[in-house]
Symmetry: C2
């Protein structure tokens, strides 16, 4: 068993400095996971991700199941080998994408039936199937299938989804443990997902029910989908208060730089978000001084780096004027350079967060970041 998690230090607010060990290396937490939806972090070679110090990336089960297919990936030695990435990988369950991307989805107690957004073919995703796919992919951390609903949701809808999510979590856990027993060893960690929409008591109920299933880690899902940041924080707090302190906690799909420290202060250890990579492709650059919209005419003759305080290889070499030109000219290189920088920004940001926890000054760090990002993009 090559998995472990240790909380190295906790600050007064509840932020945790930890270390997650996997068969594919150590992840210093709190950690941000760049998103590699289709077995690639968009615009970056793995070599770049290694240079940037990424210790874990996220793969999307929904996408990889549809294309190239989990059986093909397994045949070629698993996702790590398929994409030639030997650091850690977390895969989601596919649930969120089924609910957001696919057509004609129909949820029953059995699972969710949907049509592929690629070719319209019909598929059935069950808790067991989601676990099976992720075992075939061979990710280090797998997520259970949950039922995702839109928020705000009527209480009745949220209750029904929660009940189903817990029932699915039980089935997923049972299936996973049976597979592990048959294999004789555990090459993957399976995390449960707390749901409950925006109802504090449902979030607590969900957390309690999942804790009983004794997952090695827990995620908080269904948040940061449009509700106010305060609500995201409140719901997260309801969950983390009840989750075991010795196990890792993952807040799914977050977040903006000015929000990350808040989540960390609530005891979150892991996050993922398409923001740094997607924003980069749209010429939105994250810097120590706030967001820079690099297409802006004001940068046409600007010989300074994207971020004067940044030490990434893009900022060491290229200017704002050049990046602006590449975006204006529609060059692929624009996305490559901007993505490299933005992912560096996020990973370096997490390094600063970890340092702030160690020195006990996360609150100060957080308020400084918020001040710089309050002004809006430049």
């Amino acid at each position: 068993m090559n998995f472990s998690f240790a909380v190295l230090k906790t600050d007064a607010a509840g932020a945790r400095r930890g270390r997650l060990t996997t068969p594919h290396g150590i992840i210093e937490t709190p950690a941000f996971m760049p998103v590699g939806t289709q077995a690639a972090v968009k615009s970056l070679r793995n070599e770049a991700l290694e240079e940037l110090g990424a210790q874990i990336i996220l793969g999307n089960t929904y996408h990889l199941y549809l294309r190239p297919g989990h059986q093909l990936v397994r045949k070629l030695g698993g996702l790590h080998r398929f994409m030639s990435w030997d650091r850690a990988i977390l895969t989601d369950s596919g649930g969120y994408q089924v609910f957001s991307l696919s057509e004609l989805r129909k949820v029953t107690d059995e699972g969710v039936r949907f049509r592929s957004h690629l070719d319209g073919a019909e598929h059935l995703l069950t808790p067991e199937k989601a676990a099976e796919i992720q075992l075939a992919l061979g990710s280090d951390i797998a997520m259970v299938l949950d039922e995702c609903i839109e928020t705000p949701a009527p209480r009745q809808t949220a209750e029904a989804a929660l009940e189903r999510t817990t029932a699915w979590a039980k089935r997923a856990r049972r299936y996973f443990l049976e597979c592990a027993r048959q294999n004789g060893r555990l090459s993957q960690w399976q995390f449960g997902i707390v749901q409950g929409a925006t109802f504090p008591d449902l979030r607590r109920l969900s957390a309690q029910q999942l804790v009983e299933l004794d997952f090695p880690g827990y995620a908080v899902g269904g948040l940061a989908v449009g509700e106010p940041h305060e609500v995201t924080c409140e719901m997260t707090a309801q969950a983390t208060e009840l989750l075991p302190r010795e196990k890792p906690r993952y807040l799914m799909g977050v977040g903006r730089p000015e929000q990350i420290a808040d989540y960390v202060a609530l005891g979150i250890d892991m996050m993922d978000c398409v923001l740094p990579t997607r924003a980069a492709r749209h010429a939105c650059i994250y810097t120590s001084q706030g967001r820079v919209l690099i297409r802006n005419a004001r940068y046409a003759q600007d010989p300074s780096p994207l971020d004067p305080e940044c030490r990434c290889s893009v900022c060491q070499r290229y200017t704002r004027a050049y990046l602006r030109h590449l975006f204006a000219a529609g060059e692929l290189t624009a996305a490559i350079l901007a993505t490299h920088h933005n992912v560096h920004f996020y990973l370096d940001f997490m390094r600063q967060i970890r340092e702030a926890i160690e020195f006990g000054n996360l609150a100060k760090f957080s308020s400084e970041v918020q001040a710089r990002y309050a002004a809006g993009p430049a």
Copy 2:
């Protein structure tokens, strides 16, 4: 004066192993120049080009004049500094793009009036203006403005274009030398361009007229635009026979791997072509065994590298199955990896060509390549 060219060895057929020295480094010839149209070789960071050993790249005057503009580039320190590339750069004159990309072009003895393909704005490109733009860009090698015509062309059209090309070359040379005199030093080499369509005697006449203008190097233009390979070779031969042996010769816009050795055998020292980069973006991979169309279903489970004989960083790490998946999924990383490999293939191919000249076996090398590429893509 930091420019020089030396022919180190000539083989029996007439192939030349040479060395071109510029203020931005040495170029071993015969050389292939990757095309960086808009101040970037598509899909590649400069770091990748350096890893690949590119000693010179090509920039397009037409594109850079329209966007970001040569005055802006000059203000920011010239093209090398603007794009952060400190190895050699050759810029074309803009003539070919004016004739192929712009609208409503009208050629007079003064120059060519055209509308930008970007915004429809009217511009006048004269021999002097083309030289001025390239001096502002600060490329190491600049090309004179020539009149490009479609082939096959009536003899009368070809004669008129030739006459104008020579007249423009005289004006460009005069303008350039006057600028150099005023500057007190020569920071650029200016090359003449032999035209003459597909008429052997016109090609000879053009070469003779240009030689009289005493350029430090000569290009052969207006070829490889649809005519049979044998005609390209015949026209090239007509020109190179008359061009000074001690000066570099550049065949513009070529070529396919199976053709390159033929051009080299005719005494060509430099080439450029969008083929390796453009083909890469369309999933066409150049390998030691011929072309591989990597989207083909046969590669879906192929765990071998793109080219088992290739030593590039892509072939060291990634599989055909993975590349095929990235193309199928529409990932930008597909273009990045395929371009890296294809440019490596071309640059390594030129290394083999240079070695073959040194060992006196270019003909054997050439026939082996042709055999491998004769079968068509796999």
